[in-house]
Structure formats: structure tokens, C-alpha cells
Symmetry: C2
Amino acid sequence: MNVKEIKKMYYLVIYDIASAKRLPKILKICRKYLNWVQNSSFEGELTKTQYLSLQAELKTKINKKEDSVIFYQVRTPEVVNKIILGKEKNEISIFF
Amino acid sequence: MNVKEIKKMYYLVIYDIASAKRLPKILKICRKYLNWVQNSSFEGELTKTQYLSLQAELKTKINKKEDSVIFYQVRTPEVVNKIILGKEKNEISIFF
């Protein structure tokens, strides 16, 4: 069997959705691909295919003039430290 | 004159504040140190002193049992790409 290494990248995704009606749709899409971190933010590892698929799904639901979704794509998670003040809402993380 | 190089680190800060009353206080503190990105998120470069000062100020205002502030501390911003879907709410960024 020819096993190809599938390269993954690390993502932090934050969104700012202007309409309360669109919000649950965006949340649902993000949950399919990533881990919820806290209000309006997700983290996770994605292959190129998953990343493009997530983008494509989000594009069909957001209002481009009002909403904003930002992907921080990290090549090496080792250079990112995560420091939490207050309550840790989800302990699953790709950054330490 | 003895010029010391002041080392800076790059930060993405996201917060989830449970009370609408505390929210403007947190926003005001973050604005003093960082650039606003979108709803509940800030970016910027900080020296160690600024970083500790920001943390100390936030600690006096958040409710540790209900609120959450996350600092993503990035040593090398070159390994982070920023991709925006929809509206770019603020063009000032430390990641490209």
C-alpha cells in the first residue's frame, strides 16, 4: 500500500457575525471541522481539503458585507503559547 | 548611550466576558495595549513589561469563575498567515 503523508496545518478561527440569525449556522459549520474554544472562536488541525471545504461552506452562509471570519493559519504550533486568564472553557487545544 | 534591544512578542487576545457590564472595562484595557481586530479580539506587539501590565489590569476586572481571556503568544509572526472571509474590520495587523 502506498501511504502518503497528509500534511495538516493548525488553525485558530474567530468570527464576528452581525446577525443573530446567521450565528447558529456558522457555529454548526465550525463545529464540524474544529474544536470550540470560547465564544466565537475555534481551534483545530485541518488538511488542505478540509480547510477549503470549511471555507466553501462558510462562504455560502456569511454576509460578505457585514460578517467577518478570520483564519490564523499556523505552520508550527510550537511557536505559539496559550495563556488563559479566568475560566478555561474547553481544555482541548492544539497550542500549549 | 547604552541602547538595549527591547524584545517584543506578538499576541492575539480573545475574550469571552459573561457580563455586559464588565465588557466595556475589558475593551478599554485591551485598547490601551493592542489593536482591535473584530468583536472580542485584539492583536499587537508587547514587551514583557507591557504584557504583564495588561494581564494585571485584566485580572482586576474579570470574574475568574465566569470570564475567560486567552492570550496566544507568538514568537515568530512569520509562521502565522491570516486569511479573512467577508469584511475586513481593521486592516492593522501583525500577521499577514
